[in-house]
């Protein structure tokens, strides 16, 4: 820069320098903010593709790190103060020797909703972890949870004792029988 020594334009180059410097700072910040958003919210990008009606723009956890980002104001209830990692909720008993019992973690705000887990310890090991609360009220949360939650369980059906008051089953109707009989007779012609 010291090469620019023409007296007449000394004022001009000074201004140019300021402009260049401030532009560089602004661009660097924008680039950083975009980079942060893209890397931290792969889930957030699917959320924006979801054609939900209205205000369910996902806060995607990282918005607290980018104070200038406008989208953060769209987030329904981004309690940006609670910036805790979700995994820490089970950490109340991370000492080496677990004591047997059931431990309930605190309710953690993960920006897109509340998460609370309960861990069951048997023989000094974690035998089971249940979600007592997880975000399921918004479509974006549901989409995220559909991938993230270890949930549906399976079993082979088995006959049980018939000692029941009521039976739930698909509709048993006389019409159904009559219609079926009708079509059976029709085909018998």
């Amino acid at each position: 820069m010291s090469r620019n020594r023409s007296n007449s334009s000394s004022n001009f180059s000074q201004t140019l320098k300021k402009l260049f410097l401030s532009a560089f700072v602004v661009f660097a910040f924008i680039a950083y903010a975009i980079h942060e958003r893209l890397t931290n919210s792969s889930a957030g990008s699917t959320a924006s593709a979801a054609p939900t009606s209205g205000a369910s723009v996902d806060a995607s956890g990282s918005s607290a790190g980018a104070p200038a980002s406008n989208t953060a104001s769209n987030a329904p209830s981004s309690n940006s103060s609670a910036q805790q990692a979700p995994a820490s909720s089970s950490g109340s008993s991370t000492a080496s020797g677990f004591k047997n019992g059931t431990y309930t973690g605190p309710t953690i705000d993960v920006n897109y909703g509340l998460v609370q887990v309960q861990a069951t310890v048997q023989n000094g090991k974690i035998a089971d972890v249940q979600f007592l609360q997880y975000p399921s009220d918004r479509r974006t949360s549901q989409q995220i949870n559909a991938f993230a939650m270890p949930y549906l369980q399976q079993e082979a059906i088995q006959a049980q004792s018939a000692n029941v008051n009521i039976i739930s089953g698909a509709t048993l109707t006389s019409e159904g029988f009559a219609m079926s009989l009708q079509s059976a007779l029709a085909s018998a012609h």
């Binding site: 049980q160 018939a162 509709t171």
Partner: protein
């Protein structure tokens, strides 16, 4: 709709036959109005174009409103419009059972159930002072129970293909039959809610149980054609362990 209606009232003051008559009269009223099997019903007159929707009864308009709400809440999987005709039975049944239970509740009864065609509103306790025991029927063997639930103050509804044959279709793909799942039982806050979401989720096929999983306040038990059951995270707490 023509289905068996059963109710049991445990409370001591329930010996009055007129009480039962009132509940059954209500089901008769609903059937006369909404049955697509009856030529004289209001829904049949609507479907034939003899009655304009603007002139329909309050209950008819309400049912259309509830059906539209359910269509939206199920991403289009619940739809009373089928082949240019309207069949609201997917929502009327649960609604009618709920209203029948309300008749009993308003008279001060607390311990009873109302069951119409396998969809149930269970309130309070049974005659033994326990929660109501609700069996889930085996879709492969009508005489068998495959699960016993213990419920109180909630609704249980099952959608399936096994009794009437195919009577639920996927509105987003009407030509395709739902053949990979046999029945889907839903436990919900009341029978109206359980019934409408059981019907909608069944129309989704295998992914219906995922829909129930993320629906707050609902649990489900799906039986597929390989006799495998898939159930939601909170379902087990309703299962009776003896």
């Amino acid at each position: 709709m023509g289905m068996p209606v059963t109710l049991e009232v445990v409370d001591a003051a329930a010996d009055d036959d007129s009480l039962l008559a009132e509940v059954f009269d209500y089901f008769q009223y609903v059937d006369d109005k909404f049955s697509t099997y009856k030529d004289t019903s209001e829904i049949s007159r609507l479907n034939r174009g003899e009655l304009k929707f603007a002139n329909a009864s309050q209950d008819m308009k309400l049912i259309f409103e509830l059906a539209e709400q359910t269509r939206r809440e199920s991403n289009g999987y619940f739809d009373i419009h089928h082949k240019d005709l309207i069949d609201p039975s997917g929502i009327v049944k649960g609604w009618a059972i709920y209203n029948a239970a309300e008749i009993l509740r308003k008279k001060g009864f607390e311990n009873f159930y109302v069951d119409a065609g396998g969809d149930i509103q269970a309130c309070g306790k049974n005659a033994q002072g326990e929660k109501w025991r609700v069996g889930i029927r085996n879709p492969f063997n009508m005489d068998e129970i495959v699960k016993v639930l213990s419920v109180s103050d909630c609704g249980v509804a099952t959608s399936g293909t096994y009794v009437r044959g195919q009577h639920i279709y996927n509105p987003l793909n009407p030509g395709q039959e739902i053949t990979d799942i046999m029945s889907l039982t839903v436990i919900g806050p009341d029978v109206y809610e359980a019934d409408r979401f059981a019907t909608a989720a069944f129309a989704m096929g295998r992914s219906g149980i995922d829909f129930i999983e993320v629906l707050p306040g609902f649990e489900g038990y799906m039986i597929d054609r390989d006799k495998q059951a898939t159930y939601t995270t909170g379902f087990a707490r309703f299962v009776l362990n003896e």
